[in-house]
């Protein structure tokens, strides 16, 4: 008898799985596409390594590397019910990898009052150990509290003496390492994509305006802040503030 019940249970499980997967009537697969621009001009790795951009402060600059981490894609209903998609994604524009992110799990179709993702890792996620991120040399030194980078934006700019100088705009959780114990300020942030109705598999096209990192509210002066920014608490807070308007939702396509 026990055997028969087990077999029936297994049959039921397979049947329900088939229904979900084949008909796909109740669950939607979500895709995030990431594209990039400089104040409206599309940016890809083919535009890297040439000094062709000018930031808000008037400095001509190039991009040689851009990669950043997003996590915790969240769908929230008006009744507070929340669905969080598994995983995180290290967008690597330099190597043209992970510009498309397909989380493994799905969400129910329906109306969502808010869709969002996290730039970087929140503090719960930041202090886990990730083999793939370690392999990508993405970790933050323990002397700065450990965890992971949120973004690495690097390139060259023309400084006030007309010399070509490197910059490394690396964002991490802000830390004052002159204090014992270390004092932190959160610099991950939520990117709110607004309300969305999900009726089927859906693609979110996310846009990053790279110029915004140098623009608003802090007009970034690369002559002053160009390197060794990870241990610079104030610089990290300014990056966090400038990052608030960097991302936008370009479109949502079924």
């Amino acid at each position: 008898m026990q055997k028969i019940v087990s077999i029936l249970l297994i049959l039921c499980l397979f049947t329900s799985c088939d229904k979900d997967n084949d008909n796909n009537v109740s669950q939607a697969q979500i895709t995030f596409n990431f594209s990039h621009n400089w104040d409206g001009t599309a940016v890809s790795n083919s535009n890297f390594n040439s000094i062709i951009y000018t930031n808000e402060n008037g400095e001509d600059l190039s991009i040689t590397k851009l990669r950043y981490l997003i996590s915790k894609i969240t769908f929230q209903k008006s009744n507070g019910e929340t669905f969080i998609l598994d995983g995180y994604n290290l967008v690597d524009v330099t190597n043209n990898t992970n510009l498309v992110f397909n989380p493994m799990n799905t969400i129910p179709i329906g109306n969502y009052s808010k869709v969002s993702f996290t730039f970087g890792f929140d503090n719960d996620d930041n202090y886990n150990n990730y083999q793939d991120l370690n392999s990508a040399s993405w970790s933050v030194p323990a002397m700065l509290g450990g965890g992971y980078h949120y973004m690495q934006l690097e390139g060259k700019f023309i400084d006030n003496s007309s010399a070509e100088v490197g910059y490394a705009y690396h964002t991490i959780r802000a830390v004052d390492n002159t204090k014992t114990p270390l004092e932190f300020q959160n610099t991950f942030f939520e990117v709110n994509l607004g309300a969305v109705v999900i009726t089927s598999n859906t693609t979110f096209n996310i846009e990053m305006n790279i110029a915004e990192w140098f623009k608003n509210p802090k007009t970034w002066d690369l002559n002053v802040l160009n390197n060794a920014l990870m241990p610079n608490f104030d610089a990290q807070v300014l990056m966090f503030e400038n990052g608030q308007n960097v991302f936008s939702l370009k479109s949502v396509t079924p």
Binding site: N134, S135, S137, P141, A142, M143, E164, G166, M230, P231
Partner: protein, 339 residues
Amino acid sequence: MSCSNESVEQYVPTPSPLQIPQLFENNILNPTIPIDNPQTVEGIALGKKLFFDPILSGDNTQACADCHAPENAFTDSDRFSDGIDGVFGNRNAMPLFNLAWNYDEKFFWDGNTFSLEHQAFVPVSDPIEMKSSWIQLEQELQEHPEYPNLFQLAFGTSNIDSTLVTKAIAQFERTLISSNSKFDKFLLGEIELTQQELNGFDVFMDEASGDCFHCHGSDKNPLWTDNAFHNNGLDETFTDLGLGAVTGDPADNGKFRSPSLRNLEFTAPYMHDGRFSSIDEVINHYSEGLKNSSTIDPLMKKVAQGGVGLSEQDKSDLKAFLLTLSDYEFINNPDFVID
């Protein structure tokens, strides 16, 4: 249906999966092993014999191990290595260890070859290295009293060809795993470091000081390399384009693969052209010897001042830390020496 009842015996060599060190297992992705060349006891043994056998060279005088000696962490102590005719190359021989963790599988200083198997093809027929021909080598191995049987055991065929030769060598090379340095043992909680060594690790990890970790690994990446390509400020103009000669992209000129800092003590001289004979010279280069060029990596700081300007104490501490990456068990491993 009758076919399914017939049993066809297929020879299968003995699997010998890589033993992943605990520190690697904990912190980084598993290694890259090609699906068509799994590690086997017989394949590794054959690869080891081939690696140490001068039969691979045109006049049977030079083995892989001549330029990749165990005591030097599988490189040699020469700035440039000479081939069977005494002609020198123009790049420093790279050490060989932890090769299975080169995830992008781009080998040589300029990344010109994809996969370890393809890498092993190159020196045999290179006219300034072993200067053999694959046709000649295949014939010599085929006529050898031992090799046909060893290939039979490793691959189920005694018909020897270049593909099987390089597969065997690659299997052996993947077993060259270095994970027992003093610093590894420190990370595993087995030993303590001196204060000077700890200070040196701080110099290594401090973005406002040495800032070595962005390209050369960390306590979270025990490979001590990112296996990526950088211009680290060696020259203002390039006589060797490095990656740029491979990609054809001027933005890649002067870029070379970051070597691992593990076993640095055994692998002098340093850089792609072996220009620095000591670790002190390397540290001095990053401290005050940087030269500007169009493709210098943005992570090379204070280029106008020559570099990060380490104090003598910082330099001494950094060197003490770097020496903790020496793996004496690796260079003395009896499994890596021919009987």
